[in-house]
């Protein structure tokens, strides 16, 4: 376990020194901020439309001078805008995170092989299983950091914009994290067979098309879509703790199977 953790820590270090990855993360965060600002503007426009006839645009003064019907319509529009804002925020963060996960996990082993650093690492008493698990754990830690930042950003955003969080968004970062680990485990497995770019593409599209449960592929291919809370956030519907538990168990199962297959393949792989 100690060796696996050493590899994982080294992997985090390596990832934090990758300019492309940092660029991807920054771009993803920047996109999230831009998207949120656009939606925030949209929300202010709604407020302005309702206050065109009013001398002040302050929320309370605006609503105090409206009729009951106008107030209801105003609140509905504001709720709709804030749901859109949260859903958009989630969608951008989730998509950006998926790109980051695909990048991290599909190149985890391939980059060590390409650079030749794997030769020195495996000349130490490090088994191939420890190496692969360390690489995966390193990626998990970085993705956990990403999900944590995204989660904090959502809460900060809601706080500063005085928006009430949709019940579904509360599970958003966790489900996004699960989805990215699934994507990552599949990308890592495929990268042991194909070029990292092809592995990343295959991993991304494998889980976006075969969702219906009667289809046998549902049980073989990942169902990333189930982890997407976009529509629940827009509709303001609730995600039960039981559903989250089920999805978490599904993700753990899926990741375990992918890692077992990856270990099987990696033990047989020619590394130079």
């Amino acid at each position: 376990m100690k060796t696996t953790l050493l590899i994982a820590v080294d992997s985090i270090r390596a990832l934090l020194h990758q300019r492309l990855l940092l660029g991807l993360m920054l771009a993803s965060l920047a996109l999230t901020v831009v998207f949120s600002m656009l939606l925030s503007n949209a929300r202010q426009n709604i407020s302005r439309n309702f206050s065109d006839d009013q001398p002040s645009s302050n929320y309370f003064t605006v609503t105090n001078r409206m009729s009951a019907a106008e107030q209801r319509r105003f609140r509905e529009s504001m709720d709709e805008a804030s749901s859109m804002m949260q859903a958009g925020f989630y969608q951008v963060a989730s998509f950006g995170g998926s790109l980051v996960a695909l990048f991290i996990f599909s190149t985890a082993v391939a980059s060590e092989m390409r650079k030749g650093t794997i030769r020195l690492t495996l000349s130490k008493p490090v088994s191939r299983s420890q190496f692969l698990m360390g690489k995966y754990l390193g990626g998990v830690a970085v993705m956990a950091g990403y999900a944590l930042i995204a989660g904090i950003a959502i809460y900060l955003f809601a706080h500063t914009q005085k928006v009430e969080l949709s019940p579904a968004i509360k599970w958003g970062p966790w489900l996004m994290f699960c989805r990215q680990l699934m994507l990552g485990s599949l990308a890592m497995l495929l990268s042991l067979f194909f070029h990292p770019m092809i592995a990343a593409l295959l991993a991304f599209f494998a889980g976006n098309g075969f969702y219906a449960s009667p289809n046998p592929l549902y049980f073989i291919l990942p169902s990333y879509q189930d982890f997407n809370v976009f529509f629940q956030v827009i509709q303001g519907s609730l995600i039960g703790a039981r559903d989250v538990l089920f999805l978490s168990v599904y993700a753990v199962d899926f990741v375990a199977i992918m890692l077992l297959l990856a270990l099987w393949r990696f033990r047989r792989k020619e590394l130079v």
Partner: protein, 308 residues
Amino acid sequence: MAAIRIENLTKTYYSGWSGKETTAVRALNVEVKEGEIFGFLGPNGAGKTTTIHILLNLIRPTGGAAYLFDCPVTESAVHRRLGYLPETVNLHDYYRGRALLDFYAALAGLSPESRPARVTQLLKLLKLEDAADKVVSRYSKGMAQRIGFAQALLNDPDLLILDEPTSSLDPVGRKEFRDILLELKRRGKTVFISSHILSEVETICDRVAILQTGELRRAGTLSELSAGRSTLITVKSLPANVLNALTPTAIQLTLVQGQATIRCPDETLRQFVESLLQQNGVEIVRTEAESQSLEEIFFSSIDTPSQP
């Protein structure tokens, strides 16, 4: 117990859609005893690095087996006794020198208490103290080779596998490197060294193996390899009839200060010359095995491309 035992090792690569077959190593048998410095020689493409990669379990053999200290090479635990320096040292270049060695020391199983002292000791030995806190990506080739050598020595290995270790070192660096290897040998360590620099191998190796196109051509100590090859027979004078009898054979004659030296390239010719000299009553001054340099042994062992 042998430090390295290679039995009938074969490695074949299949490439392209047609599955074109290339055999990098063919039925190789080599045994390296504990405590010796073993030179692994051969021209480019001889299969040296492939063999080393199999020993490190980086690639799988197509046939045969390899053992380190009687353990199959697939067991990573045996790497506790191993140090390895590749031909091209590719390092995690985001570390500083000291931190990189600390990372490898931790992987090698050194305790957190013993690591700093060991790292400092090796930085000093490899003359990298001034570069210890420099980012590895800024190291020169020679410095990278030195820190690569330092990481190979971290666990005080019983077996050191070195692939072209001095290719990036200057003459001073090579001399220091040789001294370290000889010191390791004195301490009973085994060194398996693949090199193109024959003069270097000649001065430090106890035994050598010469490979070409994946096949073992010759193996043994330098004296074993040069013995039984050519014999020099020196005589005081050579009668005309003996000279005539020797002329059509493959021997070489040298006349120096009234003495004739007959060079017999193999055992059959040596016996033929000795009996001929005896029959004609020629006095033999001395008979000696001709000593060969490693370079001569090397070139006599491999097929060199013919000149156009």
